[in-house]
Structure formats: C-alpha cells, structure tokens
C-alpha cells in the first residue's frame, strides 16, 4: 500500500532531516511511527502525503509514485496533520462537503458517512456552526471525519490522539481497527507508546532522521515493553 524508498530530505542549508528511509506498509497494517521531537516523523509523513516536496528517493502509494502522479496517489490517501488548521470561515458541514467535492464522493455516500462519523464523535449538532467557534478537539474530530468520508486506502495521521477526549480517542481506535479489517492501511506517528503497543501490528522507530528499527510489534519489543525498548534504543545511539 505504501512504499518509501530511500527517502532523504535535507533542510535549506544542508542538514538532513531524514536520511535514506525505507519502509513498507501493507494492506491491513496499523503502522506506528515513533521517535522523539525533531526526529523526522512529520517530515516523512508530509512527504508521504504529497504536502512536502522532496528530491531524493520516492514514495509509492499502491504502486504509483507520488512524484509522477500525485493526484492519483492523493485520491487514495487521507491525511490528518498534528494541528488540524481548518478553514475558520466555513461551517463544519461546508467543510465536509468541500472535502467531499474534492474527493468526488457521491452524494449518497457523503451524507451517510458524515452522519455516521459525526454522530459517533457527537459533533452533528455543531456542523452548522463556524469552525472558528470549535474547540481544538472538535476541529480534530471534524478533520478525522473529513478524512474518513472518502474511504481512504491509506490513512496517514500525525499525532492523532492529541487533543481528543478519552471517548473520542477510543472511538478513533475502533475506527482504525475497523478500517484495516476492510483492507485499508494506517500509518501514524505518536508519542503515546502504550497506544502504539496495543494498537499497532507494526512499528518503526526513527532517531535523528535515521530509521533505527522496524517490523512487527512483537519482534521490535520482544519480551519488554515498547517504552523500555524505545528508551534503550534512543539512549544507545
């Protein structure tokens, strides 16, 4: 579903944010991407979803290069950034309809899915209000809904649990599992190691732009907790 090949991204000035990163996310995977602040998680994620331009390496979505056919790739992806800045001048429903239009979601599907997810996140009553009146958590819920209404094959999330209340966080985890059971894949970054350990079937740990370990969660952590493994790997290098 997602193949990252020799991805390298340098800052202006020469410093490498990510260096020669290789990763494969298969259908049905819930892939956790872990690393300390500034390790290169967001840079990688932004390159994967076609927001960040890059020169070295390639990213393929379902076998299509994001460099060669970005529009085809993006139609299969849904992305939720760590701080979802949405259009404050639109109402919630206008925003969802806008995303539905951009992803050419049928009228019937968008009405059904908007209702399904907004009811689940309990924001249906707020959809007529301007996004500027939303709290951070409500914006996050709206962004998640907008990502789900076009039934993405690959869901890419940057710190998705930040700002969500416990109920919404639980709901999101359920949705993630449900989506993967239907053949989609999820690639997400997180600092919450407990969540990653319980939710992800695969994990990658990145440090200072270098992938230091990746694979099935059980193989990466062995008999220890993910937190112990992470702390050890970060300390060792």
């Amino acid at each position: 579903m997602l193949t990252i090949k020799h991805f390298t991204k340098s800052y202006k000035g020469g410093k490498k944010a990510v260096n020669d990163l290789n990763l494969v996310v298969e259908p049905g995977d819930i892939y956790g991407f872990i690393g300390h602040n500034g390790a290169g998680k967001t840079t990688t994620i932004r390159a994967v979803v076609g927001v960040l331009d890059f020169e070295e390496g390639d990213v393929e979505i379902d076998g299509i290069s994001i460099k060669k056919d970005p529009v085809a790739c993006k139609s299969k992806i849904a992305y939720i950034p760590d701080n979802p800045d949405l259009y404050d001048h639109l109402t919630g429903i206008q925003y969802l309809n806008f995303i539905g239009d951009l992803f050419s979601v049928s009228k019937a599907d968008r009405e059904l899915l908007i209702k399904k997810y907004c009811d689940a996140f309990q924001i249906t009553a707020n959809l007529g209000d301007m996004i500027s009146s939303y709290s951070h958590g409500m914006k996050q819920k709206l962004a998640i809904t907008s990502a789900l209404i076009h039934k993405p094959k690959l869901l890419v999330l940057d710190e998705p649990f930040v700002g969500l209340d416990p109920k919404a966080a639980h709901m999101l985890k359920t949705i993630m599992v449900d989506l993967c059971s239907k053949g989609s894949a999820i690639f997400f970054s997180t600092h919450v190691l407990d969540v990653a350990e319980k939710l992800c079937n695969k994990i990658a740990i990145i440090k200072a732009g270098q992938l230091i370990t990746h694979g099935k969660t059980e193989e990466v952590k062995g008999k220890n907790s993910l937190e112990d493994v992470f702390m050890e790997l970060i300390a060792n290098d």
């Binding site: 992305y79 800045d85 001048h89 309809n97 806008f98 239009d101 951009l102 908007i114």
Partner: protein
C-alpha cells in the same frame, strides 16, 4: 515604553518578508530577497524623483506668486489626507485582527501599550510615504528659498509627526466602526459596509470642500485658504516650519503626541471587549443533517475561495475599493459632460483624448483590484488541505483567478456601460471601452497568482501583513501599473496614429501575454505550488 517598541519591532519584522530574508540559509531565497529589495528601492527612488519633479514644477508657480510656503502646505496636506484615507480601512485589521492576540495579551504588558504598538505599525508605514513626498518637497523649498539653518531642524523634526494625527483620526473612525460592528451577530459584514459608507461619504464631502474652478484659477491667498480649510493643521505646520514660529511648532508636536497617547489609553480600556465582540462566533449547535449539494472540484474551490474573500473585511476593502470608486465615478459622470469635465480638471480637448484614456483608466481601477496576489499567502496554515487533495494545482490556481474576475467583471461591465452613456463614444470606442479592461482583468488576476507563487508568505500572524504589506502584493501592483503606464505613454506620444489602432494593438499584445501566463500556470504553476 520599551515594550511598545518591542512589540512594534516584532510586527514589522514579519512585514515584507523581512525576517525570512534576514535569516534564510537558502542562497536562492537570499538572492530573491536582494533582488526584491533592490526593485522596491528602485521603485521608491523613482517615486521620489517624480515627487521631486512635481514639487519643482509647483514651486515655479508659487515662486511667481511669492507664496513658496504653499508648496510645503500642499504636500503636507496631500500626504496627510492620503494617509488618512488609506488608514481608515486597514485600521480595524491592524488593531484587532491578528493571530497572536492571545499570546500578546497574556504578556505582562499594559493593554494601552499593545494598542500603541498596533498604531505604531500603521505609523511606520505612513511615515514611509510621508518621507517619499515631503523630503523632495523640502529639498525643492530649500533650493528656492535658501532658508536659515533652523528650517532644516524644524522641517526634519516635524516630518516625524506629520503622519500621527491623520492616523489617529482614521484609527478612531476604524475603531468606532469595529466597536459598533462588534455588537452585532454579523459583525464582519456590518464593519465592511460601514467602512465603505464612511470612505465614500468622506470622499464626497472632501470633493465638496474643493470649491469651484474660479478659486483654482485665482490661486494665491484663496488657494491657501482652501488647503487650510481642507486640512487646518497645514496652517500650523507652515507657521512652524516656514515662519519659525515656536508656539506653532510646539503646539503641532504636542497635539500629535497627546492625541496618540490619549487614543492608546482610551482604546486600551475597551480593547478586549471590542476584540471579543469581533472574534466571537455565533454557535447555535442545533444542526440537523440535510441533503447535501455535490459540486465539481473547481466549483467547490471557487465557492470556498469566495467565502474566504468575504470573510475578511480588510481583504474586501483593499481589493474592491477601486471597483467601487470606478462605479461611483461612472455614475457621477452621468451628470457631467466630457467638455465640463475637461474644464474641471483643466485638460483642454479632454473629449478628444477620452476614447484612448477611458479604457486605460478603467483598466487602472481593475488592476488595482487584484485579489490573487495575496490569495495563496492567505491560505497560510490551511495550505495542507489543498496540497493533500487529489486536485491538479492548475484547478486550484484558476479557482483563485475566477474569484478575482467575479469581483472585477460585473462592476467593470456596468461601469463601462455607464461610461458609454455619459461619454457617448463611437461603436469601436465603446467596444474597446469594454474589451480592453476585460483583458486587463484577466491579465491582472493571472499575474497576481504567478507573483504570489513566486513570492509566497505563509507565516503571517495578521492578514494585514499579507494583504497590504507583502512583497507579492507590492510587486504585482507595481507590474500592473507599469503595464498600463507603458501603453498609455506610447498612445500619448503617438498622437498622429489613430488612438483606436493603438488600443487594438495594446489589446492584442495583452491577449498574447494572458495566453502565455495561462500556459505558465498550467505547466510551471504545478511545480511552484508543490515547492511552497
């Protein structure tokens, strides 16, 4: 007091992409910044030279009349009035609409000092304009009068205070409009309408003060009376600088500084309440799912862009004031014949030139109404939504062009038709009056998009820095005006060639330029959008 300067400095650093240019490590970016600063500097020098020439020509007349003081009086009044009008509509944006409000207001700084720093931002921008106009005028005055050393001292000192009072007056009006609007649910729309009404009313009012052409013909004392009536402080200024009257000098400075301090203190007491009123969104939380309307991606982007446009009063005011003035002027001309107009603005045989001039003047208003030059920068933190959408960048960029044309075309067509009625041109001239501005509307909209792609500013905290002070807006305005001045100059020089032929030639060239730009957006636009 040091905090006022600290806050002002932070705001100014984000203007014109200054901080980015200072700290960028990218050689390409740095080269771009140097090129841009040199172009702006060249533009400023050009305006200063024109200003000097204009002052010099006026000085020759005033020298004959023995009233050289009128040169400084006129220039001071002009800078003050222009500063006043251009500040009214941006005052509310600068004072109340900035993203780091929460951060700034949580700092241990007096509210009145925050207000003062916002007003000082307006002051610095206006001071820039004052210097460009007043310094050449001062030099001309010094050459002609050869004044005492005291003149230079007084002239330079008062220079710093000239923009203060007009800004305060404009900011009082802007704040009052914001205060009234903040009490209503649709505060932004009310603020927008009120600002338009106030600007047009003030302009119509100041035209009324101009008197009749008899006064203009008489010059001398009556001209001085007219200027002083229009802007009473000019009298005090001339007294201080040209007659070295210390009481006037001190009064002028005291009035400027005191009004600034009183304004900052008084507004400081209501500042939070006004800001809260303006920024609070009405939330009913009673939405019930209804059938949704599906649109094509282009239509969806167009609707989103149009909503964005009307959500920002500073954006609307800055880019549509030209079109509104065009409409007001076209309506006014229904009641004035072209011969009478020629007498009024002292251009004999104006009707003879109008066939060439009218399409270019209308085009000038159109190019000044460029919404696209800041439309990409205004995406700011929201750019990820468009970047991660499965839409060709060409569709995104053309939706921005379409919104610009929506703002300009209807007013342009109506105004051109009104001008056809009032000026009664022949059918070819009528056609040109409609077609040339239409071409310029397309040109300006596409050029704005390209310039903004080349000079984006996504890290802004106040919309004003993007809409009024960004490099893209300044450069596209400069290119727009140059694109009109060159053909206008050619048509005025080639008096022996049929004016219609020249206009047709200009039209053909501009169509070719538009086609090239359209192709550029289709090809390079995609790549440029990806890199921002």
């Amino acid at each position: 007091m040091i905090n006022i300067w600290r806050l002002t400095k932070i705001q100014l650093l984000s203007s014109f992409g200054l901080n980015k240019a200072l700290h960028t490590l990218d050689v390409k970016e740095r080269r771009k910044a140097i090129l841009l600063s040199s172009s702006i500097l060249a533009g400023v020098l050009m305006i200063a030279v024109v200003s000097f020439g204009y002052s010099f020509m006026m000085a020759m007349t005033f020298e004959q009349m023995g009233r050289m003081d009128l040169l400084l009086a006129i220039m001071m009044a002009v800078t003050s009035i222009v500063g006043f009008f251009t500040t009214i509509y941006k005052a509310s944006g600068v004072l109340f609409s900035y993203k780091d409000y929460d951060l700034v207001m949580s700092l241990p700084i007096k509210t009145s000092h925050v207000v003062a720093s916002r007003v000082l931002q307006l002051y610095v921008l206006n001071l820039f304009f004052t210097l460009i106009v007043m310094l050449p005028a001062g030099v001309v005055y010094a050459i002609k009068v050869n004044p005492e050393t005291l003149f230079y001292l007084l002239f330079l000192m008062t220079l710093l205070f000239i923009p203060l009072l007009p800004i305060i007056a404009a900011t009082i009006i802007g704040s009052f409009i914001s205060w009234v609007s903040s009490r209503f649910k649709a505060s932004r729309m009310i603020s927008l309408v009120l600002t338009f009404v106030v600007i047009i009313a003030l302009m119509v009012g100041s035209f009324g003060l101009n008197g009749n052409e008899q006064v203009l013909a008489d010059m001398g004392t009556e001209l001085a009376d007219m200027i002083f009536k229009l802007y009473p402080l000019a009298d005090m200024y001339v007294d201080a600088v040209c007659s070295y009257r210390m009481s006037s000098f001190l009064l002028f400075i005291a009035l400027s500084v005191l009004s600034f301090m009183i304004f900052a203190t008084v507004l400081g007491t209501r500042y939070k309440a006004i800001h809260t009123g303006l920024t609070t969104s009405h939330a009913s939380s009673k939405y019930i799912m209804k059938p949704l309307e599906a649109s094509s991606p282009f239509r969806a982007l167009y609707k989103k862009e149009l909503r964005r446009y009307f959500s920002s009063s500073i954006y609307v005011l800055n880019t549509s004031i030209g079109m509104i003035l065009l409409l007001v002027m076209s309506i006014a001309l229904l009641f004035v014949s072209s011969e009478k107009l020629g007498e009024l603005i002292e251009i004999p045989q104006l009707s003879h030139y109008l066939s060439t001039l009218a399409p270019m003047i209308v085009s000038l208003f159109v190019t000044l109404s460029c919404t696209t030059s800041s439309s990409i920068s205004l995406e700011g933190n929201h750019l990820w939504i468009l970047k991660s959408s499965p839409i060709s960048k060409q569709t995104i960029l053309l939706s921005k062009v379409a919104v610009n044309l929506t703002i300009t075309l209807p007013v342009l067509v109506v105004s051109s038709m009104l001008l056809m009625i009032s000026l009664r041109p022949g059918w070819i001239e009528s056609l040109l009056l409609l077609v040339i501005p239409l071409i310029y509307a397309c040109y300006s909209a596409m050029m704005g998009v390209i310039v903004n792609l080349k000079l984006p500013n996504l890290e802004w905290t106040s919309e004003v820095t993007v809409i009024k002070q960004s490099a893209a807006v300044i450069v596209s305005m400069f290119i727009g005006v140059i694109s009109l001045l060159i053909p206008l100059g050619i048509s005025l020089l080639l008096t022996h060639v049929n004016g219609n032929l020249i206009l047709i030639g200009i039209g053909m060239i501009m169509i070719a330029v538009c086609l090239v730009m359209f192709r550029y957006i289709q090809t390079k636009g995609e790549r440029l959008f990806r890199t921002i």
